[in-house]
Amino acid sequence: MSREGTVVRDKAGFLERRKDRRLGVLTVLVVLGLWEAVGRSGWVSPFFLPPLTQVLLSGWEITRSGEVFSHLAASLWRIGSGFAVGAGLGVLLGVALGFSQKADDAIHPLVAATYPVPKIAVLPLLILWLGIGEASKVAVIGLGVFFPVAINARAGVRNVDPLLVKAALSLGSGRWGVVRKVILPASLPMIFAGLKLGVGIALLLVVTAEMIAAESGVGFLILSAADLMQTTRLLFGIMLLSGLGLFLSWLLGRVERKLIPWRG
């Protein structure tokens, strides 16, 4: 070996995370650029993949007319309320199932059995109970969000270090204190992964929900464009939904970083 010897390099350096936003913007731009290129190349019929610029143009039209904002507002309201209800109940049930083996024994099979029931099939029942208006739409979104949040919260709770629960018990916590002060924070990373999944599902389901008796909404925009085979409008609707998804997951990320400050 050389006189210099071997200098020790930091093998664990990659554990330190330094976020670089520019990269993400770059990839998204590259994908959008590719889309434009493919759309213009003529490889695929513009009927399926019109170039990005054309999609933006058609989007600009309905933006200028203000139509977009009423769609956005309607959907945001449905997504927001559905998400709030579904995520709230999901966290509650998930934590309960993770915490109490009895509750889990009783209810988990039911959850596993009802989870794969297609939401489209449940809609008629929901309409029967809740009417054709907003309530059934919010309920469908809520149902969709409920499952990933509940399943992740349950797994998160089951994953909590029992030693920490013991520490809390020894410091005088009751069951409820343990749940609130140990189990919830300890399973937050997993609950947040569930919430992120829930956001995506809420956005997906807004399309299902607006299949029935909707007169506005991004989902309505997408569905009616799909039915009418107006591809540019359809793609603009999808872009709106993606944009909403990005925005909501950014928002969740911020909340997460606020609530989980103990990891770097």
């Binding site: 270090d161 030693l163 013991k166 020894s170 410091l171 005088g172 204190g177 924070p185 937050l188 103990w262």
Partner: protein, 259 residues
């Protein structure tokens, strides 16, 4: 508060293979205001016993009872765990405040008391740090502050000073001794460092190897308050040697002779 351990034993199940008999039958009492130290070889069931007394583990046989006046505004027991079990999502101060919150101490008092205890264990300036940002010894001191802060009737400590350097350890022993003498709480104290057991305790219980049973209970008749100079007194050294002998008599390191 008087604590009575009656015929307690513990066997752990093991899915593949036989049970582990961790602890044989043990009987003893911790009198009100008594400081009992527990020594014994690694794996003889000390932590197991402590967890049972804390009500965090069900014994296989026997039971633990508390006698005595109800404790106003303070919990029956508090534990310093061998594995510390600090809450990673709480700052050092937040960890110490935990028990105070559960006791319903007013918000302002919680903060003041938490900071007082942290200063006592030498952690001022680290209140806002999270556990993963502390050194091993600092984590241990944070865990000690957390348990002391709730002022329990019975303090259960599982090798609380094992990660401290000699100097800090001596300082902490003196501090603990002072606190004990001032508040007259009961203490059950696990240590593998016999001089510490003798220095701190009113009684030293020596366990055999796994499954641990009581080999001997030794009353330590040294004057209080205990101060550093006690360590050169002949009676102190006598106790040391006697307990050393008892521990050695146990045989091989992790090999219990049973009973």
């Amino acid at each position: 508060m008087r604590t009575v351990v009656e015929g307690v034993s513990k066997a752990y199940d093991h899915p593949k293979g036989p049970q582990t008999q961790a602890l044989g039958r043990v009987d003893f009492a911790i009198e009100e205001g008594e400081f009992v130290a527990l020594v014994g070889p690694s794996g003889c069931g000390k932590s197991t016993l402590l967890n049972i007394v804390a009500g965090l583990l069900a014994p296989s046989t026997g039971r633990v009872r508390f006698h005595g006046a109800s404790l106003n505004g303070r919990p029956r027991t508090a534990v310093v765990f061998q594995d510390l079990a600090l809450f990673p999502w709480r700052s050092v101060e937040g960890n110490v405040r935990y028990g105070l919150e559960e006791l319903g101490v007013a918000r302002r008092d919680r903060r003041r008391r938490a900071r007082e205890w942290l200063a006592l264990v030498g952690l001022e300036g680290f209140e806002a740090h999270y556990p993963h940002q502390l050194s091993g010894g600092m984590k241990q001191r944070a865990a000690i502050a957390r348990a002391l802060a709730v002022d329990p009737g019975l303090l259960l400590m599982d090798e609380p000073f094992s990660a401290l350097d000699a100097q800090t350890r001596m300082d902490m022993q003196l501090e603990l001794s002072r606190i004990y003498e001032a508040t007259a709480k009961s203490v059950l104290y696990i240590t593998h460092y016999i001089p510490e057991a003798v220095f701190l305790a009113d009684r030293v219980i020596v366990l055999t190897g796994r499954p641990g049973v009581i080999r001997e209970k030794v009353r330590v008749d040294l004057p209080r308050p205990r101060e550093e100079r006690i360590k050169v007194e002949p009676r102190y050294v006598e106790y040391l040697e006697r307990i050393w002998g008892l521990v050695r008599g146990v045989g091989g390191a992790a090999e219990g002779t049973g009973s």
